[in-house]
């Protein structure tokens, strides 16, 4: 059944391609068009860490790459943080609009749905903005690549550092959906392994919660030393703000913090918080160069690691397409992904890296501390380095994820 459906889809695509060829034959060059769809949050809590900046980053990669032998078109849409909306858009893009690759997708629930659609349609999904480690674990597939960070990496880097520093009892404040649950699960594993203990947790409705004071009091009364903040974006901002307001004495572990969150919080509230980012705009000369180009498109902003990931992954995809030929790449998403895995990655944001068989793109992860207002030299000068984990240790070992591709 599945096979015949795919054959029909492929057949449909082939006939669609055939019908466009004669139309374009009149022109001097009949070039195939590669379409990249940036599916992101344009209206919700993750807009600033991904959103319009992610669309800009996709276009930056396309412009810089200046593809030869094929045209590249970028489309974009808002998934509204709803998995059903995201999956519907992905289907329309793949089936009707001839999109070959979907990038970004901040929100783990939507990302898992889109990964399923990409597999079904033999297209490609490269995730940059969401975190669930299930994308390269039990839900991995041959059409999906996870680019920047995941809950395992965040848990190991931030969570591990916290436990080492003496934070051995935890209480979790968790967004009640795929991402929050995965982040809590992965961090709990590290806490238990290090001899620590989780004293309690509260899962709050996502999205739509803006008052966290009640949960903060519950966390406080648990007696735990560390508050594990398993949410992201605007929710993290409100959590940290209100923790300060209510004089919560626990150490705050912002398990997923973006520079856009720190910017919104202001240094006087955010100072001293430890966080993990695999990209910081001021980490080296190449990153600053990327950042300058990004600012030209998004004045007043700085790229987050999600933005950097969208740029970096789009670039790697275009390199692969050039190598294998656009016509071939359009036809078979899984084959293109296999080629992407075979090629080492390299760009200004993440340096050299590679993609594992389970779809996990690996590179070092960095632990940062938010500077105090006195330490900061100016706007967006927010992080100082605390440490780093090399690429081969930063992510979950291949054999522990339960990804079927690894066994095969």
């Amino acid at each position: 059944m599945n096979l015949s459906r795919r054959t029909i889809t492929l057949g449909g695509l082939a006939s669609a391609a055939a019908s466009t060829v004669p139309l374009r034959a009149g022109r001097a060059q009949a070039q195939p068009t590669i379409k990249i769809g940036c599916l992101t949050d344009l209206s919700g809590p993750y807009r600033d860490l991904a959103g319009p900046g992610a669309i800009a980053a996709t276009k930056m990669a396309v412009q810089e790459f200046a593809a030869k032998g094929f045209n590249v078109e970028v489309v974009s849409a808002d998934h509204l943080n709803k998995p059903d909306v995201g999956a519907t858009i992905a289907r329309e893009w793949f089936d009707r609009d001839g999109v070959d690759l979907i990038v970004e997708v901040a929100n783990s629930g939507v990302a898992l749905a889109v990964a399923g659609v990409a597999k079904e349609k033999n297209k490609i999904f490269i995730c940059s903005g969401s975190a669930t480690s299930d994308l390269t674990g039990k839900s991995c597939n041959a059409s999906t690549i996870h680019w920047v960070y995941d809950t395992y990496m965040l848990a190991k880097s931030t969570g591990g550092a916290m436990v080492k520093a003496g934070g051995d009892t935890w209480f979790f404040l968790t967004a009640d959906y795929a991402f929050g649950k995965a982040l809590q699960r992965d961090t709990t594993d590290f806490i238990n392994a290090a001899g620590g203990k989780v004293l309690g947790s509260v899962a709050y409705p996502f999205p739509g919660t803006s008052d966290f004071s009640s949960y903060l009091l519950q966390a406080q009364s648990s007696g735990a030393k560390v508050l594990g903040i398993a949410n992201a974006g605007a929710d993290t901002i409100n959590t940290i703000k209100q923790a300060k307001e209510f004089g919560i004495k626990m150490r705050l572990a912002g398990l997923l913090l973006f520079i856009s969150d720190v910017h919104s919080l202001g240094l006087d509230v955010a100072q001293g918080i430890a966080l993990t980012d695999s990209f910081y705009w001021d980490m080296n000369a190449k990153a600053r160069g990327f950042s300058d180009k990004f600012i030209a498109k998004m004045p007043g902003d700085r790229p987050t690691m999600a933005h950097a990931g969208v740029y970096s992954s789009s670039l790697h995809y275009l390199k692969t397409v050039t190598e294998m030929g656009a016509a071939q790449a359009k036809l078979d998403g899984a084959a293109t992904v296999a080629r992407m895995k075979a090629m080492p990655t390299e760009d200004d944001c993440f340096g050299k890296g590679s993609i594992r068989i389970d779809g996990r793109c690996i590179h070092p992860s960095y632990l940062w501390e938010v500077k105090s207002p006195a330490e900061s030299k100016g706007p967006w000068d927010y992080y100082k380095p605390l440490g780093s984990t090399p690429a081969d240790e930063a992510f979950r070992p291949l054999d522990q994820g339960g990804c079927p591709l690894v066994k095969a």
Binding site: L49, A203, G208, S210, G233, G247, G266
Partner: protein, 295 residues
């Protein structure tokens, strides 16, 4: 330690108090909605966006003009209220003769437009707005640490709610207003400018939302989505209290804040839905709402 239903006593008291604080916002917002519905028969779905505009107005006053929190508490409602009057005069007033549904759709559309514009200009992470120096710090109540600012929110909300109720129920202006809702042509015959009265009522309801927005600005980050988080709950509050009932919406606002606060302890996953469960039960048992008058 005293345990109540398996929850430590101090924690439970803390939750009750926090529920009251959130209830203060529900009360202020639902009050504005009730006033507007009572007088204009418009279900003002733009209320959340106007609440958000109040918060943004206070942020803009501080950031662009250096005007602090307390003047903003007066100025922001005036500015946003004036914007409300402009909306009423130019757009909303055209719908009075039509079914409620049109007003609802129009104001819903307006709120989408307003929020979209703010999102485009300011992003969605929110902008920082500091608690004024005099209201910083906290009381230690023994069972919890109560930020002075949150206490202030409850007091300010109570004062505003009770004054609004008193103006409508106890003054001659309020009597005229109520009369105009009952029978506009007759009141007009007495020489009262009813259309102007209606415009000012809408402006007043909007100013209430903006006032709540200013109060909310230091607690939540000033964020284009801050109204949407509230508005659905607030509608449920108005329905439970009884459409158009002033005192009903105030009491229900505080009451549901407490119900929601308790739910956050016993079953947090349902805290966003508990208000609607209450709404369904109330509608089944008392379709006019708890404080609504029979037609």
């Amino acid at each position: 330690m005293i345990m109540i239903f398996g929850i430590p006593g101090p924690l439970l008291f803390g939750q009750l108090l926090l529920g009251l604080i959130n209830g203060a916002f529900y009360a202020m917002l639902s009050l504005g909605l009730a006033v507007i519905f009572g007088m204009l028969n418009i279900i003002n779905f733009a209320h959340g966006a106007l609440f958000m505009m109040g918060a943004f107005a206070s942020w803009m006053l501080l950031d662009y003009a250096g005007i602090g929190y307390f003047p903003a508490l007066i100025l922001a409602p005036l500015l946003v209220g004036a914007f409300g009057i402009f909306l009423e005069k130019t757009i909303i007033s055209r719908l009075y003769k039509l079914d409620h549904l049109y007003g609802l759709l129009l104001t819903f559309g307006l709120s989408l437009v307003i929020e979209g514009l703010f999102r485009n200009a300011y992003g969605s992470s929110g902008l920082p707005y500091r608690i004024p120096a005099i209201l910083q710090g906290a009381f230690n109540l023994g069972f919890m640490y109560l930020p002075i600012y949150r206490g202030w929110v409850v007091v300010a909300a109570l004062v505003v709610c009770i004054s609004t109720w008193a103006i409508i129920e106890k003054t001659s202006l309020g009597a005229t207003l109520r009369a105009a809702t009952e029978n506009a042509p007759l009141v007009q015959a007495f020489g009262v400018n009813v259309p102007r009265l209606i415009t000012l009522t809408y402006g007043g309801g909007v100013a209430l939302a903006a006032f709540a927005g200013v109060l909310a600005a230091p607690i939540y980050s000033v964020n284009p989505n801050m109204g949407t988080n509230f508005i659905n709950t607030v509608f449920a509050v108005v329905v439970i209290g009884g459409m158009g009932s002033i005192m009903g919406s105030i009491l229900t606002g505080f009451g549901l804040g407490v119900v929601e606060g308790l739910c956050k302890v016993f079953y947090p996953q349902a805290s966003a839905t508990v208000v609607f469960v209450v709404m369904v039960i109330v509608l089944l048992v008392r379709p006019r709402g708890l404080f609504g008058k029979a037609a």
